[in-house]
Structures are given as structure tokens and as C-alpha cells.
């Protein structure tokens, strides 16, 4: 069986996910056993016309991004959003909170309907995304899990339970117990609760679980000491991109 052709592309992001791929060190050569990397700007010059699997890092934030992601989608059999910027808009989407109506018009003119929320939007707002790997930075175990599934030709398991679950399985002391506020209750798990396990609150970097009740979560944050403003800011740190706005 021919090895799948894999390509990596990056859009607006900090490159941390790319770096994390190189941080696979112990597994990097094993990963390369299974695939042919045909495009990976961080590491090589080569280019290819089509890809079996395209990994996309970064948010979409300019009209050129849109054009380019459409082009990649056309040439990719499977397209995967890698990391928070690509999958949920991520930290970039914080700028969406700024008043930018005029900027939108100026930047996109009549095409501004492509960007109802503003520059920083997830890949799935523009093209069909087959799978998403969450996290800022993306979690290596999850990357490997998705990677293995794809090579085996099966759908990767997609976590829809919150970080709390992983904390409880690890018997971590709840950070609320320590007087901190944490977005673990509504943030998609899959990171093995890495931040709470190291004593730091969950920032919500992996996006919210399906059915997440933001209002109830805001109440919880306020119950534990945040003001309304602080609570909503905390919730929006990585999750300012609101998908329902895209519907219009």
C-alpha cells in the first residue's frame, strides 16, 4: 500500500503546534515510517499538487487565507484543523471582540460576508474540515491518536466530555478548592487535564464541549469570585469566535 501523502500548512498562528510536531522527537521517525511528507514549509522546499491528508494550523484571517484554504481543500482528500487557532479560532479570535465593523468593510469590501465575525476564524468557517485536533498547543497524544486512526482508515475518537473528567480520573484536587477559577467544567477534554494537573487553571484552549452552557458557567465563575466582566473575558480567551454568528 502506498504511503499517504501528508502536507502541513500554516495560517495565522504562533507556530507552536508546528513546533510541537517536531517535539515528537521520540516518535518522529516512527511517524515518518507511515507517511510521505510532501509539503511542510517549516522544514522543506517541496510542494505537491494533491494530498491524502492536509493538516492546517492557524486561523483564517485575511482574504488571501480564504483563497488559499479553498485551494488546499480542493486538493486534499482529508483536511484536518490542527490546534486551537485552526479548530476554534483560538487566541487570535480575542481580537474579534474589538469593534472592527469598519475594518471588515475596508478589508473585504463586498466579500465581507465571508467574514461575519472578523479576520480570526476557524478553518471550518470557510471549508469542510474532516477532523479537528484541539489545544493550544495541540496535544501530542491527541495528534498521534488522530494520526494513527487516519493511517488505519478509521474515524478518530472525538472527545466531547469536559476536562473535569480527566481531572477526576487523575484524582487531582479541584482548582476551585484552591480558590482558583477554572474552565475545566465546560472545556473539551483530551489534554489529560494538563494545566490543572500542574496546578494552573484551565483557560478553555480546547474549545467548549457540545451543549456547553456559557451562562451557567459564567454563574459558576461569578460564584467563585470573578466579576461579570472578568468571567466573560475568561470565557472568551480562546473562544471568542462564536459559530452561531457565522450562520447569518
Amino acid at each position: 500500500m502506498a504511503k499517504p501523502k501528508v502536507a502541513f500548512f500554516d495560517f495565522t498562528s504562533c507556530e507552536g503546534c508546528q513546533l510541537n510536531k517536531l517535539n515528537l522527537e521520540n516518535h518522529l521517525l516512527d511517524v515518518l515510517e507511515h507517511i510521505d511528507i510532501v509539503e511542510f514549509r517549516e522544514a522543506m522546499d517541496d510542494k505537491a499538487d494533491e494530498y491524502d491528508i492536509a493538516f492546517i494550523e492557524g486561523s483564517i484571517s485575511t482574504p488571501q487565507c480564504v483563497e488559499r484554504i479553498h485551494d488546499i481543500r480542493r486538493r486534499a482528500k482529508t483536511l484536518i484543523a490542527l490546534g486551537s487557532c485552526a479548530s476554534i479560532g483560538g487566541i487570535n479570535s480575542m481580537k474579534n471582540l474589538q469593534p472592527i465593523e469598519s475594518v471588515r468593510e475596508a478589508v473585504y469590501g463586498k466579500d465581507k460576508y465571508l467574514f461575519p465575525t472578523l479576520p480570526a476564524i476557524p478553518v471550518s468557517a470557510i471549508v469542510k474540515v474532516d477532523y479537528e485536533i484541539y489545544g493550544c498547543p495541540m496535544s501530542i497524544p491527541e495528534f498521534l491518536q488522530v494520526f494513527k486512526s487516519l493511517i488505519m482508515g478509521k474515524a478518530p475518537i472525538k472527545s466531547d466530555s469536559p476536562v473535569c473528567v480527566e481531572c477526576k480520573l487523575k484524582e487531582n484536587e479541584c482548582l476551585f478548592e484552591r480558590g482558583m477559577v477554572c474552565l475545566g467544567p465546560i472545556t473539551r477534554s483530551g489534554c489529560d487535564a494538563i494545566c490543572p494537573s500542574f496546578g494552573q487553571f484551565c483557560t478553555g484552549c480546547r474549545g467548549l464541549v457540545p451543549n456547553a452552557d456559557k451562562n451557567a458557567m459564567t454563574d459558576i465563575l461569578m460564584k467563585h469570585g470573578l466579576s461579570t466582566d472578568e468571567a466573560s473575558k475568561r470565557l472568551l480567551m480562546f473562544n471568542s469566535y462564536v459559530s452561531d454568528e457565522m450562520v447569518n
Binding site: M152, G153, K154, A155, I157
Partner: protein
């Protein structure tokens, strides 16, 4: 085999006990001996256990099919218990396991645990007219019952089959359907939901078949299997026909991980579908608010 004497000793100290502890989660490695792609989504398999051992199931029971590296899923047995030395599954590609299962061909191995759960209570059907109501892939477990009846035809009264699918393309077991249709001892009714030019048969949801069917109410037992949405309407229609609730059996689908009453996923109120179902006697569940 694990030596269970120690555990039995421990069990005697436990507050509750009834029988020997079992290795519940280890599958038997079986082989796919025949394959038939029915439709784009449905594929049929004949599975042979080691040494052609008989599975020993009842119509309506299921097995846990496992593929190493992918996982396990409950799948209804579609062959009749009268078929020995191999059994059959018909699988719709809707999930991770089935997706991968569809790539397998004759000679491939898969893991089997089971049969699990309760099937159709054949004794209740014996000597009675049998009304089969199957929607979509609901026909898969029903086929096991139908073929059992066909193979023991003299033990049963009328055999009335109502089969509904979204479109003619989605009708399963096409060859057998022709046999059922032409069999003078079977009253076969089929319908599709959508109007398709080349389809000359009945169009409409499955309950639209009922008005044309005369039932001997006291003497008819119904077996109903279909998607969750179908039950409400079928049960309502059967009520309109005044078929007593005691005469209805139906099979429910729930998420399952273990098949042995432990993992908790399949619970409908207090009932574990993998233990007391998937086939239920309707009076047993009609008061369970989570059932239908």
C-alpha cells in the same frame, strides 16, 4: 482459563453472590466466510466460529463484534437459529467500528462475544399468527425470526410481514424479499417513504400498510423493530387496530459497551437493554418513560 477457586473463596466473603466470576470481556476469534454488499451502506457477512461451533442464539439477540485496534459494538444477528455452524450479520455503516468492518472481506478475522440479551420469546409466537413490522435496518433482527418461522412453518399461524424503507434502494435482502413475496404462505407488504418513478409498489410510512391488513386480534403476536421514531407511530397504529399490548414484542437500540449488564450505557430506567432486552414484551416497558 483463570483458576477461579481463589475468587470463589473471596466471593463467599462478599455480601452478595450468586455464581462464578467470569471473564466477561474476552472475545472468541471468528472468521468471515461470506460477504455481500447489499447497499452502499449495508453489508452482509457470514461468520464462522472456531471449529464451526454453533452460536446458539435466539432470534433478536445480538453479539458484540470486535475489531482489534478499533473497538467493539453490539450487532444484531440476522440469521435464523436453524442455520447451524455459522451465523450472519448485516451491518449498516454508521460508526467507527462499522466503518472499518465494511473494509473487511472473506477470510478476515473478527472477535465475537455473545450471544447477549433476550431475543423474541418464540413460545409466545408459537401457534399464533405473526405480524412482523420492520422499518429500515429493523428488518435485520426480524429476518432471524422470519426465517425461523419459515423453517418451522407448521408451528405458526399466518406470517404477515410489513417492511418499510426510505427508498427502494435501501430494501435489504432483495433475493429473500422476492421469495417472501412469492411464498403463498407469507403475506408480504412493502412500502417506501419517498415517491420514486420506477417504484410501482406502495408509498408511505409503514403504518399506511396497516389498514389493508385484517388481524385476528386475540391470535396475533406482533414483532416490531425499527428506528426510535417509528415505535410511537407503529404502537399508536396497532392500538387503533385494537391489537392488545400483551401481543406486542419490540426491540430497542441503545448504546452498549459491555453487553453484560455492567457498563451502564444501555439503561432504560431500571432496565438494562443488554440483559432484559433488546427484545421487550411491550407491557414490560410501556410504563418506562425512557423507553419509547
Amino acid at each position: 482459563m483463570v483458576d477461579t477457586t481463589l475468587v470463589r473463596k473471596a466471593m463467599s466473603e462478599l455480601a452478595y453472590q450468586d455464581q462464578n466470576p467470569m471473564e466477561l470481556y474476552y472475545p472468541e476469534i471468528a472468521e468471515i466466510t461470506k460477504v455481500n454488499q447489499f447497499t452502499e451502506l449495508e453489508k452482509w457477512y457470514e461468520i464462522t466460529l472456531p471449529n464451526g461451533r454453533d452460536l446458539g442464539h435466539q432470534p433478536g439477540q445480538f453479539v458484540q463484534v470486535s475489531l482489534f485496534g478499533v473497538g467493539e459494538a453490539p450487532i444484531s444477528i440476522t440469521s435464523s437459529p436453524t442455520k447451524k455452524s455459522a451465523f450472519e450479520l448485516c451491518v449498516r455503516n454508521v460508526g467507527m467500528l462499522t466503518d472499518k468492518l465494511h473494509l473487511l472481506d472473506v477470510g478476515s478475522n473478527l472477535g465475537i462475544r455473545g450471544p447477549f440479551g433476550k431475543g423474541f420469546n418464540i413460545d409466545a409466537f408459537r401457534g399464533k399468527d405473526v405480524l412482523i413490522v420492520g422499518g429500515g435496518i429493523g428488518i435485520v433482527p426480524l429476518r432471524s425470526l422470519i426465517n425461523y418461522i419459515i423453517d418451522n412453518r407448521q408451528e405458526f399461524g399466518r406470517l404477515i410481514i410489513c417492511y418499510g424503507a426510505k427508498s427502494p434502494k435501501e430494501l435489504l435482502f432483495a433475493d429473500e424479499l422476492k421469495l417472501w413475496e412469492s411464498d403463498p404462505e407469507i403475506e408480504y407488504h412493502v412500502t417506501v417513504d419517498n415517491i420514486i418513478p420506477e417504484w410501482k409498489g406502495h408509498v408511505g410510512v409503514i403504518t399506511t400498510l396497516f389498514p389493508n391488513i385484517e388481524l385476528d386480534l386475540e391470535n396475533t403476536i406482533a414483532a416490531v423493530v425499527g428506528p426510535p421514531i417509528m415505535y410511537k407511530f407503529v404502537l399508536m397504529a396497532l392500538k387503533t387496530k385494537q391489537l392488545p399490548d400483551e401481543n406486542i414484542y419490540l426491540s430497542l437500540e441503545r448504546r452498549m459497551k459491555c453487553g453484560v449488564g455492567k457498563c451502564g450505557h444501555c439503561q432504560i430506567n431500571q432496565s438494562y437493554v443488554c440483559q432484559e432486552g433488546p427484545v421487550y414484551h411491550y407491557p414490560d416497558i410501556k410504563n418506562l418513560p425512557e423507553a419509547i
